[in-house]
Symmetry: C2
Subunit: 366 residues, 2 copies
C-alpha cells in the first residue's frame, strides 16, 4: 500500500502508532527478472490442484455462497496425509495468519517467548502486535541452535525449522527435548521449509504432536506445494491447542479460506506423487547450486530448505555489493543489513536455467 | 472446527480463554435446502469475474508466486469505480478481516466505542478480542438509530448501514452529523449491504470520506458482488487512516488476498453493467417478498438490504416456532433468541423460486 512517508497519526490507536510492520520480500512487477528472493517453488503446482480450482469456477452457483468456515475437507485431507484426526489440524490464510493466531492464543504470558536471534523476521513483528515479550537467544557461531541455551523459564518457544534465513535444520531429538523440558509452555516449530529436508519423516515434528500436548507444528502451501499465490497455511497439534486457534480465528475472521483455495489445497495434498517428484528435483537443484557457489568461493551453510544462505567471502566486494550488482543484472536475491548476517545472501533455489543465470552473473561480478 | 465440548485450556493465553467467538450462519452441507440464512446473492457472480479467475489458473507459472501484497490492481479498480485515489482504498480477506483491523487500528482508546444495541453480532466479538470497551446504544422503538443518542465522548463509533439484522437505513445527513460531531474519533460505517439501497449514490458514505478525515466506510464483495466464496472486503477513508490499516495488516498478515481473489474481485468491479442489473433484480425480488410476507400477516421492517427482518405476528406460533418449522421443511432462515429481536426472523431475499418456496411453506405453517 502506498504509505505516505509521514502519515498523520492523529486518529490512530497507540497500538497502531507503535507498530513496526513486516516488510515482505519484493514482488517485482517487471517480467524477465530472475526472481530468487522469496523462496517460491521453481515448479508449477500440481495439475490436479489447478483442475480442482477450475472445477470450483465451473460451478457458477457456488462462489456466491460462503465457503465452509472450518475448511473441513481440506483439514481432512491434511489429517489423512499425516495420519492424524481432523481435530488435530488447523488451517489459515497462509502460515503467516496461522502464526499470528498462535501468538495471540499461546504466547501472551507473563514470561518471555524464546526464539533464536536469527530467524523468521515476522516473529518480532507479531510479538509487537500482540504485546508479547520476546527474548532472543543467539545462534551459536555455526548458526546452529543449541537447545541448552533454552533452559530459562519462558512463556513459549518458537523456532523455524529449518531455520530462516539460514536453512539449517534442528534435529528431531533436540525438538523433543525442548518440548519435554518446557511442558508448561507451548513450543512452536515453524516448518515452512521442512519438505526440503532430505528425510522429511525423520525431520518433521508432526510425528511428535500426540506425544507432546504442548507442541504446535506449522506448515505452508507456499513452498513445497508451489501455491504461494493461494495463501494457505496449517498447524498440527493436540486438539486442545487446535481448539484455542479455532476460538481465536472465530474471534477475528470466520472465513479465512476462500472456496478456490480450499479446493486447490486439498487436491494438492491428495497428489502425493507429483509432490514427491518436485520435492526431490528441488533438492537435487539445491545440491548443484551449492556446488557451483562453493566453486565461486562462497561459504554456504548446510541447507534443508529451498534456499541457501551463502557468504560471498570476497576480498573487496561485500555481500551488499554483490546483492546490488546482481540486482543491476536482473537477478534478485535477499540481503539483510543486520548484525551477524550482513555478509550473507539468501538465494532461492530456482530452476536449472535460473540457477545457471545466477552463477553466470556471479561469475561476471566476482 | 470440531471444538471439544470442554477443551483443556491449560496452555491457552488468558486472552484465548476469555474469548466468545463469533458463530457464523450455518453453511449446510446438504443440497436441496432453501438457504435463506446468510444473505448471499441469489445470482451468480459476473461472468467476467469468473473469466478473470480462470485466466489466473491458465497461467501455470503464476500460482507458485506470492500475490502482490498490497493488491494494487484491485485497489486501483475500486478507486476508479468510486472516483478515489488508490491510497484511499484498503482491501482485506473479507470485510470481517477489514473490520478486525479497523478495531485494532482505531478503537483501542480510553473511551468506549459506541454502537447500536442491535447490529452486526461480530462487533462485540472484535471488542472482546482487542480489549475495546463497547457501549451499546439502544435503537429506538422502530429499530431506527437516533443520532442524538450518540453525543457522549467516545473512542469511536461503528454502525452497520443498512443495519444488520434489521435492514434499516440511516440517512447520509445523519452520518455526516455523526462524523462532524465526533471529529476526534473514527466513525466507521459498515456498508456490507449498501448496494441494495434504492439510491446507492445518495445512501453511501463513500462520498463523504474526503470531507471527513475521521470517516471509514467498509464494504464487501460477499453480497452485491455475489462473491462470498472468495473472501474480499474493502475500506475507503482518508490516506492517513488507510496507512494505519496497512501498518496493522502488515503486522499481522502481509498477503491476505490470493491471486485468484484479487483477479476475480477486480474484474467484478469493472463489470458495472452486470452489477447494476443484478442489484436491481434483487431489489425487485425484495419488494415482491415484502408484499407476500405482509399478506401473510408479517410485520416487515423497511429494508435497504438483500434480506428482510420480519415478525410473524402469529397468535400462537413464536418466531422461533416458525424458524423451526421452516427448517423441518428444508427452508433455512436466521433467528436470534435475544432481547428485542426474538420475535423476528431474518430472511435473505432469494431467487423468485426460493422466495416462492418460502412463502408456500409459510402458508402451510401459519
Amino acid at each position: 500500500m502506498t504509505t505516505p512517508t509521514l502519515p498523520n497519526t492523529r486518529l490512530w490507536s497507540d497500538k497502531a502508532k507503535s507498530l513496526s510492520p513486516y516488510v515482505p520480500g519484493e514482488q517485482p512487477k517487471h517480467a524477465n527478472l530472475c526472481k530468487l528472493n522469496t523462496n517460491e517453488n521453481p515448479f508449477a503446482p500440481s495439475p490436479k490442484a489447478i483442475a480442482a480450482m477450475r472445477a470450483v469456477l465451473d460451478d457458477e452457483a457456488v462462489l456466491r455462497l460462503y465457503p465452509e468456515p472450518e475448511s473441513d475437507a481440506l483439514r481432512q485431507a491434511l489429517a489423512d496425509f499425516h495420519g492424524l484426526d481432523i481435530d488435530e489440524v488447523f488451517v489459515g490464510n497462509g502460515s503467516d495468519e496461522v502464526l499470528a493466531l498462535v501468538f495471540a492464543s499461546f504466547f501472551l504470558k507473563p514470561q518471555p517467548l524464546l526464539t533464536p536471534d536469527i530467524g523468521y523476521s515476522f516473529y518480532p513483528v507479531y510479538a509487537d502486535t500482540f504485546g508479547v515479550e520476546l527474548q532472543k537467544i543467539p545462534l551459536n557461531a555455526d548458526f546452529c541452535i543449541d537447545i541448552n541455551d533454552y533452559q530459562a523459564p519462558c512463556g513459549g518457544i518458537i523456532i523455524a525449522n529449518p531455520n530462516a534465513p539460514t536453512g539449517v535444520l534442528l534435529s528431531l531429538a533436540d525438538i523433543e527435548t525442548l518440548a519435554r523440558r518446557h511442558s508448561d509452555s507451548v513450543v512452536v516449530i515453524d516448518e515452512a521449509y521442512i519438505d526440503y529436508a532430505d528425510d522429511v519423516a525423520a525431520a518433521s515434528a508432526v510425528s511428535l504432536i500426540r506425544k507432546y500436548d504442548n507442541l504446535v507444528v506449522t506448515q505452508t502451501f507456499s513452498k513445497s506445494r508451489a501455491l504461494a499465490g493461494l495463501r494457505v497455511g496449517m498447524a498440527f497439534a493436540n486438539p486442545s491447542l487446535i481448539a484455542a486457534l479455532s476460538a481465536m480465528k472465530n474471534s477475528f475472521n470466520s472465513y479465512p479460506l476462500d472456496r478456490v483455495a480450499q479446493a486447490g489445497a486439498a487436491a494438492s495434498i491428495a497428489d502425493g506423487e507429483y509432490f514427491e517428484q518436485k520435492r526431490l528435483e528441488v533438492i537435487a537443484l539445491r545440491a548443484a547450486l551449492v556446488n557451483d557457489l562453493n566453486e565461486l568461493g562462497f561459504k554456504v551453510l548446510p541447507s534443508s530448505a529451498n534456499f541457501v544462505f551463502a557468504a560471498p567471502n570476497h576480498h573487496t566486494l561485500s555481500a551488499k555489493d554483490v546483492f546490488e550488482k546482481l540486482r543491476e543484472q536482473g537477478v534478485i536475491v535477499r540481503h539483510w543489513q543486520k548484525e551477524r548476517i550482513s555478509e550473507y545472501l539468501r538465494i532461492t533455489v530456482g530452476t536449472a536455467e535460473q540457477n545457471a543465470r545466477l552463477i553466470q552473473v556471479l561469475t561476471q561480478i566476482l
